[in-house]
Each structure stands twice: as C-alpha cells, then as structure tokens.
Symmetry: C2
C-alpha cells in the first residue's frame, strides 16, 4: 500500500536532537509553557513520545537543551546594538534587549529561569547562561553608582543591574504592571548613574 513515488518515512530521523529543540521553541511561542509536554514535542516532530529519551534522558533534559538555546538568543538580543559608537547607547540597547527578549518569548524566558524545569547542573546550560550574564557584567563594570564605600563594589553593581532588569522583565512577563498599567521602558525607570542619563529624545534634561 506504500506509494512507490514517495519514499517511506525513514525509521531514523537523522537530526532528531535539533528537531526536538526547534519543535519545543515553536510550541513555546505558539502555545505556551503549559503546553510544552514531552508528548506534544515528540508529536510535533512526528516521533513517539519515548524517542527523546535516547538524546536527552528525560523531559527535563530536553527542556534544559531548549533553555540553553534560549540563553544564546537572549545574549543575541542584548548585543543587538553592540557595534554602536556611543557606549551609553550600547548600554541602553543591552538593557532593552533583555526586556525585549522576555516580551518576545515570555514562555521561553520563564523556562530559562525555572530550576524546577531545567537542570542547571548541565554545563551546556550554565555556560550559555554565564555568557549571557557576561554582557551584564561588562555593563556593570562601567558603572559608578556606588558611593557607599562598601567592599565588593563590582559584584554588587552587577547584582543591582541584574536585579533591576530581571525584576522588570519578570513582572512584565507575569502581567504585573503597576495599577494604572501604562507601559514603561526599562531605561525610564533606571536611576541616573552617570550612565543611561543622556537619553536623547526621551531625556532633554540629561
């Protein structure tokens, strides 16, 4: 009963690993994190729900690979305007990229910061996450917000910057905006640290 002109579906997929990650991304963006089941991903590729086990061990392993891929994209978003001449512009772009990524891929963003879903013991994931964090580190290094005299200024600067932008993105993804709810830009809530200050069109007083 097999049509001879169309070759039968091969038993082996050939690049199932990559296909599963790609399928997961599509499901995430199209139907959300709650729809991202092992069976749904497998069905999207056209394999049985136990096939992924050979490549990822378990659902958590697959989600971990998806999250790692997400961190690569995340970093790309932050480096969007990395070639700009103006360092302030680069800094602004990185912050906005962090938030824009979360807005464009809210479910992927949630997955990436859910240790219950993906394993941060996996080197591929931790390396990707660290690379993404590195962009923030570079920015924080150029920051002179700290007049306290406390030690560990660099680490505290990073944590301040990360907390602010991550909190902003997280709350936005969760749909939690202040009561009256108009959309804000991350650069509009940043204090003036001697960076992000001369905000061109938006801040004529800089």
């Amino acid at each position: 009963m097999q049509d001879e002109t169309t070759p039968p579906k091969p038993y082996h997929h050939g690049s199932l690993k990559e296909a599963l990650v790609a399928a997961g991304m599509e499901i995430l963006d199209a139907r959300g994190l709650e729809a991202l089941s092992l069976r749904a991903i497998a069905a999207h590729v056209g394999v049985s729900h136990t096939a992924p086990k050979n490549h990822f061990g378990s659902l958590k392993g697959l989600l971990t690979a998806i999250a790692a891929n997400g961190f690569h994209r995340h970093r790309t978003y932050m480096l969007a305007d990395a070639n700009s001449d103006d360092p302030k512009q680069r800094q602004r772009a990185a912050m906005q990229g962090y938030v824009r990524f979360a807005a464009d891929h809210p479910h992927l963003f949630r997955l990436m910061f859910s240790p219950a879903l993906c394993s941060f013991d996996d080197p591929a994931l931790t390396n990707a996450a660290r690379a993404s964090y590195g962009v923030l580190q570079d920015i924080a290094a150029g920051l002179d917000w700290d007049k306290s005299g406390l030690p560990d200024g660099a680490r505290r600067a990073e944590m301040m910057l990360w907390s602010m932008v991550h909190g902003f993105a997280t709350l936005q993804v969760a749909g939690m905006t202040p009561p009256d709810g108009a959309m804000l830009d991350i650069t509009d809530i940043m204090p003036n640290f001697g960076f992000l200050a001369q905000n061109g069109t938006q801040n004529p007083h800089g």
Copy 2:
C-alpha cells in the same frame, strides 16, 4: 467495629476551606511547589480529592486562595518594623522583609507570582496583592531618585523599586546568584537615593 468512646469521623469537615489552605501552606514549605497536587492537599486533610471542588471549583481556585493568603503574610513581613521612629529604618525593613519572605517561603513566593497557577481575576487575590504593593508605593513616594524630568515620576519610582527588590528576591529563590556566589543584602545593592544611604553599621561612609 467502631470504638464507641471515639466518635466516628463526621461526614462533614466543618471548616474544610480553611483546612485546605493551611494544608497547602504546609505542603509548600515542607515539600515544595511541585508536590502541591490536588490529591496531596486533600489527603493531607483527610478528604477525597474531589472534595475541594465544592469550595474552590478547581485546583487553580485553591491555589489562588493559598496565594492570596501568601500576600497577606508577605505584607506582614514588609511591615515588620513599621513602627520604627526612623523612616529610613522602616524603608530598609520593608525591602528586607520582601526578600526575607521569599527566602523563608520560596515555593509560596513562586506560586504568588505565577499567573499560570493562580487566577488574578479573583478579587480576593488581587486585593491582597494590591495591599502588599501598597507598602512599596508608600516607600516609593518618599523617594527622590528622579532627576530626569520625565513625567509620571511617582509611577516610575514605584516600578523601579519593585523591579529591583522583586528581581533580587526572584533570582535568589531561583538559586541564581552571581558566579562567586556570596550572599548579599538587598540594601547593599540599592543605589543611594537619599534614602537607604546612612546604613548604620554597614555603611560608615554615609
């Protein structure tokens, strides 16, 4: 076969609604958000897994009630030192309370900010969340960080404060601390806004 001295378990619980919420809290703190199933909560109280439906409609309804209760506790944490004479001390205490709540009840904290798990259409939840947010609003109102000249300064001050403290708490709950990982205090990463500056023992340079 029923022992006549011990009355048989009554068919009706009497205060199942409250008991289920309390059971959920205990499971959250003891076994985590992933263990918080409808059946687990019901079993903890000693009723069938369909009994909660009469009071909460569905699992999501029950989780919503638990989250609402969580926001009340959250607010209590933030108001821990609300009677202090020093306004700076009150502000510090509120920030630290926000973070301390997340550290003490990480799974409850995650639940409270998971719109996929609990319904923010429920007035009980939104009211509790708003009350908690009100504490932050009061603090932000006393903040003079904004020299930008942009409009909506109050709302942006709130969002800045909320983003920073929520991001810090969220990252901490997710186990994401900067690479070298020593624990920081939220007040040690806050910029000097003319508040939180004179940090007594920790900041002799204030």
